[in-house]
């Protein structure tokens, strides 16, 4: 019986090796790219902003690139699990991923043992969108303008609570940034994600909330919450009447969240990167896509590989700096 075992195993093994050899990836000319479906790794659970934006883009792949782009969700560890997977994939242009504030700029600060170095291990292909944080309070709160808020905070240091979706999220950073810029001290109450924080705000358990616009859009429309200010350099198209923090005199509180497309470092041949970037720019210029994104609260804002790289590196510096002063660190 043992001999029969060996023989069958041997045959199977040989077959496997044969097929493996036959299916080795071939070197692709940039002009032909893509000849196979592309994988877009979204390092978050389905349904979030990044996931939706990624799906919007990937839907157009068949039309413009001739091959489908399939979204694969690999959530975990705040997005770093999926991003690490991308960083370690083959640099042939078929394994792409989404990248954003959290996974590029914040992750290395929170996790000194991050398995990938965002600057060295990734090729930044294009920026997709930027979006803002919105400072919001309950509708019936007496602190319904930014001035009143800061005023109260200065007179009562350490009395106000602000909620966030978690320690080390962009929202938390935004809050601390504002604390520092306005010279006030508000206590940070972290929640696990936006929904419980939003409920706490509506229920009056916390005083204000730094939120991604998209997560509170309906509350704003229904008048349940009042947006006090937005944190991007420009006003948010969907709520044009809300001033920016810079306009209100706190230029140091400006913080921009963003999403982009990335791939592992060293994608060859190089023209593939440009081809992908051009594709993305094309998709972002479609009015229908733009409209969908704006309702999502994100602003389409394409940047090509070189500009994107510079932008991202600046972001990394900004966050490192903030983390130092606000004492947000890895343990």
């Amino acid at each position: 019986m043992f001999k029969k075992l060996c023989r069958i195993e041997l045959i199977l093994l040989v077959l496997c090796v044969l097929f493996a050899g036959l299916s080795a990836p071939k070197q692709v000319e940039a002009a032909d790219f893509p000849t196979n479906p592309i994988q877009l790794i979204v390092p978050y659970a389905p349904g979030g902003v990044t996931d939706i934006v990624g799906r919007l883009i990937s839907e157009k792949s068949r039309e413009f690139l001739g091959q489908p782009m399939v979204v694969v969700n690999k959530p975990g560890a705040g997005g770093t699990l999926g991003t690490d997977f991308v960083a370690k994939s083959a640099p042939d242009g078929y394994s792409l991923g989404t990248i954003g504030t959290g996974t590029f700029a914040i992750a290395p600060i929170l996790n000194p043992n991050l398995p990938y170095d965002p600057v060295k291990a990734l090729t930044l292909i294009s920026r997709l969108t930027i979006f803002s944080l919105v400072i919001m309070v309950r509708a019936d709160s007496p602190l319904n303008t930014l001035e009143k808020l800061v005023d109260y905070a200065k007179k009562n240091p350490g009395k106000l609570n602000y909620g966030s979706a978690g320690v080390g999220t962009a929202l938390h950073f935004g809050g601390e940034l504002f604390n520092r810029a306005a010279g006030i001290r508000m206590v940070h109450v972290p929640f696990k994600g936006t929904p419980p924080a939003l409920m706490a705000l509506l229920g009056g358990h916390i005083d204000l909330f730094f939120s991604n616009y998209i997560d509170a859009v309906e509350q704003v429309k229904a008048g349940k919450v009042i947006p006090l200010a937005v944190t991007t350099p420009e006003r948010v198209i969907a709520i044009p009447h809300v001033p920016t923090v810079a306009e209100k005199g706190y230029p140091d509180a400006v913080i921009t969240s963003w999403i982009g497309i990335t791939g592992p470092a060293g994608i060859t041949p190089l023209p593939i990167v440009d081809k992908l970037s051009a594709f993305i720019r094309k998709v972002l210029s479609i009015p229908d896509i733009q409209k969908k994104m704006i309702t999502l609260g994100v602003t389409p804002a394409h940047l090509g590989p070189k500009e994107f790289e510079k932008f991202a590196k600046d972001q990394l510096e900004q966050f490192r700096d903030l983390a130092r002063t606000a004492n947000i660190k890895a343990e």
Partner: protein
């Protein structure tokens, strides 16, 4: 009341349209099939089918996705009963008595009462939704961190009653579950605990791998000890596929109580389904005349929790539809679906998109009807599956567990984790420890700890915040009272046992 009739009429006219009813049916069908495959829960399914809904109108797409959601809830109960693998958080409780019933050849009545119980609960809940939805949403908001913390404390105490065996062992399991739940980054400080540098542990241990391993795989391992050629479940005549009159008489009370309990508990974010079924089980155990039989196949232990978790599932739609806030991962995906369709649920949905709001609510009812029609004949098929020789069945079960654990997050690591928990569960069985209290503590633990931390942050360390709020104080007192009662009664029992043994002569 008049308004309600109008609204329901509007809703039904939407949900009973041919297209919508058809897609509701498809959703419920897919949901049930998916729910039956352990691990591939509603979250993964909805994610897979989300792209399909691009081509449907918003209302239709959402009705289909909602159908998948509660179809999968029911499917999850099916696997709980048949193979002791809870497909969903809330189905954990169903395994306690449901699987026992299956082993005694009463899988049919178990599945049947689960189906009917869910249906009745769903009907009641739908009407409840229509009447009190906005009001309930307001109540949900009143629950702040102190209320959550004390409620979770109460729930944790009741979790110890799940165990049949010794009290210290159940308590130990609860504490162990709490300790395991601390693995990962702590919400309040973001500090990584017990992660051993492994990235996958940063979010904590996966819940699905935990239950699939502890319940499903350990069950397989323990059955595999002996080589069996046939089936391992007692068979029953075909006539006994449905619950008997006696079963009904025992179950109707639990079903009604479970529906009410589940509906109200379901509106609380983060555990509505689980807490509902837990509460119902404990309630039935306490008011039963034979509490010690719970865990050996009491139909009340299936009827009540099943009704509760279905009512809870519908209750959990309230924050979504009224406030636009999702209270679990599946809801979050549903919101994503809404957004892609250009509709976003929120406080204005009821007034601005009434056909959407009432359409979805009434489709829950039609969904429940379809589920019943779909599942009753299926019961016969499921029971037949149990007749497959176990030597062929169990590799399939393992296969499904592996696929399920992988598909959750496309991660092989989680499959290894599942197998590890399977071994752990097997060992636990051998030494008489029960997994159920541990699993419940594992889920409730983070909710408790986070709420506690947040409450203390907000009150700046003043612990009186738990005492001077009525709801919070109430939960706290109830929890402490329960704890005291059970410790005392347990000590008494132990002492009287010892007395008896001394008398009988050592």
């Amino acid at each position: 009341m008049d308004n309600l009739i109008n609204n329901l009429y509007l809703g039904f006219s939407v949900s009973l349209s041919l297209t919508n009813a058809f897609y509701c049916f498809i959703g419920v069908l897919i949901g049930t099939l998916i729910g039956v495959l352990p691990g591939i829960g509603p979250t993964a399914t909805i994610a897979i089918l989300l792209p399909m809904t691009f081509y449907l109108s918003p209302v239709t797409g959402i009705i289909m996705l909602a159908g998948i959601f509660y179809g999968a809830q029911y499917g999850g109960s099916t696997t709980s009963i048949l193979v002791n693998i809870p497909g969903e958080v809330s189905s954990v409780i169903t395994t306690l008595d449901g699987y026992q019933m299956a082993q005694q050849g009463r899988a049919g009545p178990a599945l049947g009462i689960a189906a009917f119980g869910s249906f009745i609960a769903g009907t009641l809940a739908t009407f409840g939704l229509g009447i009190v939805a906005p009001f309930l949403a307001g109540i949900a908001l009143k629950f702040g961190p102190p209320e959550y913390a004390t409620l979770m404390f109460l729930a944790l105490i009741t979790a110890t009653f799940l165990g049949q065996k010794s009290m210290p062992k159940s308590l130990a399991m609860v504490v162990l579950g709490l300790i395991l739940s601390t693995i990962g980054r702590d919400t309040i400080t973001g500090f990584p605990r017990f992660t051993l540098g492994i990235l996958q542990f940063e979010d904590g241990l996966g819940f699905i791998p935990l239950i699939m391993g502890l319940f499903g795989i350990s069950e397989v391992l323990s059955n595999v000890e002996e080589k069996v050629r046939g089936q391992i479940f007692a068979t029953s005549k075909i006539a006994r596929l449905l619950p008997s009159l006696k079963d009904w008489r025992r179950s109707i009370g639990p079903i009604l109580r479970g529906s009410g309990l589940g509906f109200f508990l379901g509106i609380l974010p983060g555990g509505g389904g689980l807490i509902s079924s837990l509460a119902s089980y404990i309630m039935e155990k306490k008011i039963s005349r034979t509490p010690e039989n719970f865990g050996t196949g009491m139909i009340e232990g299936v009827a009540g929790p099943e009704a509760a978790n279905n009512a809870g599932a519908q209750g959990s739609f309230i924050p979504l539809l009224c406030l636009g806030i999702p209270c679990n991962a599946t809801m979050a995906i549903l919101i994503g679906a809404f957004i892609i369709h250009g509709v976003q649920p929120g406080p204005l949905t009821m007034t601005q998109n009434p056909e959407l709001f009432w359409g979805v609510i009434t489709s829950m009812y039609t969904g429940n009807v379809l589920l019943l029609i779909l599942n009753l004949p299926l019961i016969g098929i499921w029971v037949k599956i149990l007749k497959v020789p176990y030597s062929i069945l169990y590799p399939l079960i393992l296969l499904f567990c592996v696929v399920g654990a992988y598909s959750l997050n496309n991660s092989i690591f989680e499959v290894y984790l599942t197998v590890f928990f399977g071994v752990l569960g097997y060992i636990m069985r051998k030494i008489d420890y029960e997994p159920a209290p541990m699993v419940l503590a594992f889920v409730l633990g983070p909710l408790f700890e986070d709420a506690l931390g947040q409450a203390l942050l907000i009150s700046r360390g003043d612990y009186r915040v738990f005492l001077n709020r009525p709801l919070s104080l109430g939960f706290l007192v109830a929890g402490l009272a329960l704890l005291a009662m059970s410790v005392i009664s347990n000590l008494q029992k132990f002492r009287s046992n010892r007395m008896k043994k001394v008398e009988e002569g050592d």
